[in-house]
């Protein structure tokens, strides 16, 4: 039990750790606790309003509601699976405490069980943070069947952890620890993008096509079919509406699977860990390496930044997540170019600015060898320009591609995208250059909270450029206002350079 308590504590600390002014902290700060309590209260209020206004159908919900809840549970399960995958890889392979635990008198099964239960509880707690208010409010309102949320979510948590554990054992063996951890994160982003794409597709499909699609799906959800709302596929949804026998079956199935996973995988895991630990023999290559030195001197530092970026699976995963948000927009442009222009142009500009800021943080703030650059004879301006270009060019690629697609319908809007995206990108890079402090690449996730003023300025700058792009596409006379505000932001950035002296003097 104490090991399980330790695992839960580690989970909580990893979830709430942040860096502030270069100092790592743990637990929620006082301000964060206040916000947390406020959010919890607001969720309960939302649950109250929702449940109070819901017609009382007990544990016999209408078919459409059941299908909606079922679909929501599927999405929830997939999100839990992706988080469980990341947690399993992190807990078992990356945290670095297994050597200590395995060399202790503790039984390996105990260690493995505690870790997995810790992951399952952690994954479940994240879902319960959103759904538990409904159960609590349901209890108060006398709608006791909503209490089923707790066993259902816990069952989904244990089920997702079992599947994630088995997947991670295979994935680590095939693609390695780092890529396996990234897969979990990419999966959750992918799920979000798929949901968005499905929604946008249904909105933009012609009515006849949509009717054809619905007619095509109808046989699969009619009574007696595989996706019949009364069928076993919707059991988790039925459990959520309080059907006792279904709740018991759900808990039994997930519990059994979890125990079987524990029983069969823990030995495999221990032996694979020992194999990894023993395989540190470096392979040497007998084939001579014929590396050609680049003759284009100004590209040299840019190439170096791109090489560092594309070989860092973890960072690449983080950047890919941001790109996922751009894909649906390109999709909208392709299928709905004529009508999508102002909103798409502004969203694309905003995300390009945000992406450029992230890349600039990597190339500038997270420079691994600043002393090498400082002791070299290359000028500061040359280094600065290379680092900005190294961040800006990849950030502009999605904008360029989308503007080519957009130019099919409107060349002017395509120009606006390029112009505003470039402006947003350069502003984001300058904010990183002049306002960010040196950091390590491992702190990428915490970069926003580590320097809140700089993060706010980056976001505001991207937002303003997005508004400029929108107003340009709309040919609006209000353009002057965001342009003026953006100039003020740039002045703040330049003032920040002088005031805080956080910029890097290479």
């Amino acid at each position: 039990m104490w090991l399980l308590k330790h695992e839960c504590r580690i989970f909580f600390y990893s979830f709430s750790v942040a860096t502030s002014s270069g100092k790592a902290t743990r637990g929620f700060p006082r301000v964060g606790k206040g916000w947390l309590i406020t959010i919890i209260l607001m969720l309960h209020l939302f649950a109250w309003v929702t449940l109070d206004g819901l017609p009382q159908f007990g544990n016999k919900p209408p078919a459409q509601l059941l299908m909606g809840v079922g679909g929501g549970l599927v999405m929830l399960f997939l999100m839990m699976l992706s988080y469980a995958l990341k947690s399993c890889v992190s807990t078992l392979y990356q945290r670095g405490d297994l050597d200590l635990l395995l060399s202790s008198p503790l039984d390996t099964r105990t260690i493995f069980s505690a870790k997995l239960i810790g992951v399952a509880l952690g994954v479940s707690s994240l879902a319960l943070a959103i759904l538990a208010p409904f159960a609590n409010v349901g209890l108060i309102l006398g709608l006791f069947h909503w209490i089923a949320i707790y066993p259902v979510v816990l069952s989904l948590g244990f089920l997702s952890t079992s599947l994630a554990m088995l997947s991670s054992l295979c994935l680590v063996r095939i693609i390695g620890v780092r890529y396996a951890a990234q897969l979990g994160q990419l999966l959750s982003a992918f799920i979000g993008a798929v949901v968005f794409l499905l929604y946008e597709t249904s909105r933009h499909l012609p009515t006849e096509t949509l009717a054809k699609v619905i007619n095509h799906i109808r046989p699969y959800i009619s009574p007696g079919s595989i996706f019949d709302p009364k069928g076993w596929v919707y059991w988790p949804a039925w459990a959520l509406f309080g059907k006792t026998e279904v709740i018991l079956v759900t808990v039994l199935v997930s519990g059994t699977l979890f125990l079987l996973t524990l029983h069969f995988s823990h030995r495999y895991f221990v032996s694979s860990k020992q194999r990894i630990a023993g395989s540190v023999v470096r392979k040497t290559h007998s084939i001579a390496v014929n590396h050609k030195f680049s003759r284009i001197k100004w590209m040299n530092p840019i190439l170096k930044e791109w090489r560092l970026l594309h070989r860092d699976a973890r960072l690449l995963g983080q950047i890919s997540l941001e790109l996922f948000y751009l894909i649906p927009m390109a999709f909208i442009v392709v299928f709905n170019g004529r009508n999508a222009a102002p909103g798409t142009v502004s969203m694309l500009t905003f995300f390009t600015g945000a992406l450029a800021s992230s890349l600039a943080w990597i190339t500038i703030a997270a420079e691994e060898a600043p002393a090498l650059l400082q002791t070299s004879p290359v000028s500061w301006s040359s280094v600065r320009n290379s680092k900005i270009l190294a961040a800006l060019i990849p950030a502009l690629v999605p904008a360029v591609i989308t503007s080519i697609l957009l130019s099919i319908h409107s060349a002017t809007n395509a120009v606006y995208v390029i112009f505003c995206s470039t402006g947003a990108g350069i502003s984001g890079c300058l904010a990183s250059l002049y306002l960010r402090s040196p950091a390590k690449k491992s702190q990428f996730n915490a970069r926003m909270s580590a320097n809140i003023p700089a993060s706010l300025i980056e976001i505001v700058s991207s937002l303003l450029w997005g508004i400029i792009a929108f107003l340009l596409a709309e040919s609006s006379g209000w353009l002057v206002i965001p342009c003026f505000l953006e100039m003020c932001v740039l002045l703040i950035v330049i003032y920040g350079k002088g005031q805080y002296k956080n910029y890097h003097r290479f």
């Binding site: 470096r282 050609k292 030195f293 680049s294 040299n300 070299s376």
Partner: protein
């Protein structure tokens, strides 16, 4: 083979005979780190700066390389004023800190290509030089691996290759032998020795007194930010009162003197 690597810049009498000339150097953080430091290093010398932990050795080197600004004092490198000719000085100087300045996700040749580019080397010259260094330092078998997988010794050797690729006049090294095994340490020492034989200058800090005793042409001992003794091994032994004492004895006698 190591000696063919170096083509030191031709000696210009107008630049003087000194590789480094420091006078009145002061630097304080929370407490004084360097106090009124004076010393000179002649061209072609292998100068070793010794001192206990916290004596100010690294601070001095960082001020010489321009990574740290001094509070007061005067630094002249290769006859050039540091405050006005920083870029010209950097063109001829290489710095190797105690923690190698490498990029985890680069392969050795990519790292050397980047460093060569920083010093404006021509691609063909840089490529040849990189090849020779990789062979001398026995890093060629690992040319296809990322540096993040290298041992401490391999990282240090690669960093040294990066320092040497542009044939600097002056090499400044901070604890270059720490953590190296005997084979790697011998390779590094041989390379440094070859550099001085070719007319280059080395300024090095180390805790390994045997290395200083064997390689150094002159030794400076710094404590609490001040130079407490300086000279050749013979001169230091005379100061200690006996020709038979080792550098360790001299060092311990000097730093323990109140």
């Amino acid at each position: 083979m190591a000696s063919t690597l170096f083509q030191p810049k031709s000696f210009d009498p107008k630049q003087g005979q000194l590789a480094l000339n420091i006078s009145g150097l002061c630097k304080a953080f929370d407490r004084p780190a360097v106090i009124d430091l004076d010393f000179k290093v002649r061209r072609g010398e292998f100068y070793v700066l010794l001192g206990p932990n916290g004596a100010g050795k690294t601070t001095v080197l960082r001020m010489v390389t321009g990574l740290l600004l001094s509070d007061t004092g005067h630094i002249e490198v290769l006859g050039m004023e540091q405050s006005s000719k920083a870029r010209e000085i950097k063109q001829q100087v290489a710095y190797l800190p105690d923690e190698p300045m490498l990029y985890d996700k680069l392969k050795p040749y990519e790292y050397l290509e980047f460093v060569a580019g920083l010093w404006g080397m021509e691609a063909t010259v840089a490529s040849d030089q990189a090849s020779r260094l990789m062979n001398i330092l026995e890093l060629e078998p690992y040319a296809n691996e990322l540096t993040e997988g290298f041992s401490r010794g391999m990282k240090q050797k690669l960093a040294l290759a990066g320092a040497l690729i542009h044939s600097p006049e002056l090499i400044i090294l901070d604890e270059p032998l720490t953590g190296l095994d005997a084979v790697a340490a011998r390779q590094v020492k041989d390379l440094l020795h070859a550099h001085t034989l070719s007319g280059g200058t080395i300024i090095m800090t180390t805790h390994i007194l045997e290395v200083a005793e064997r390689l150094a042409s002159r030794i400076g001992i710094i404590q609490n930010g001040r130079m407490i003794a300086e000279g050749t091994m013979d001169e230091l032994q005379v100061r200690a009162g006996s020709k038979d004492v080792s550098l360790e004895d001299v060092f311990l006698a000097l730093v323990s003197t109140p």
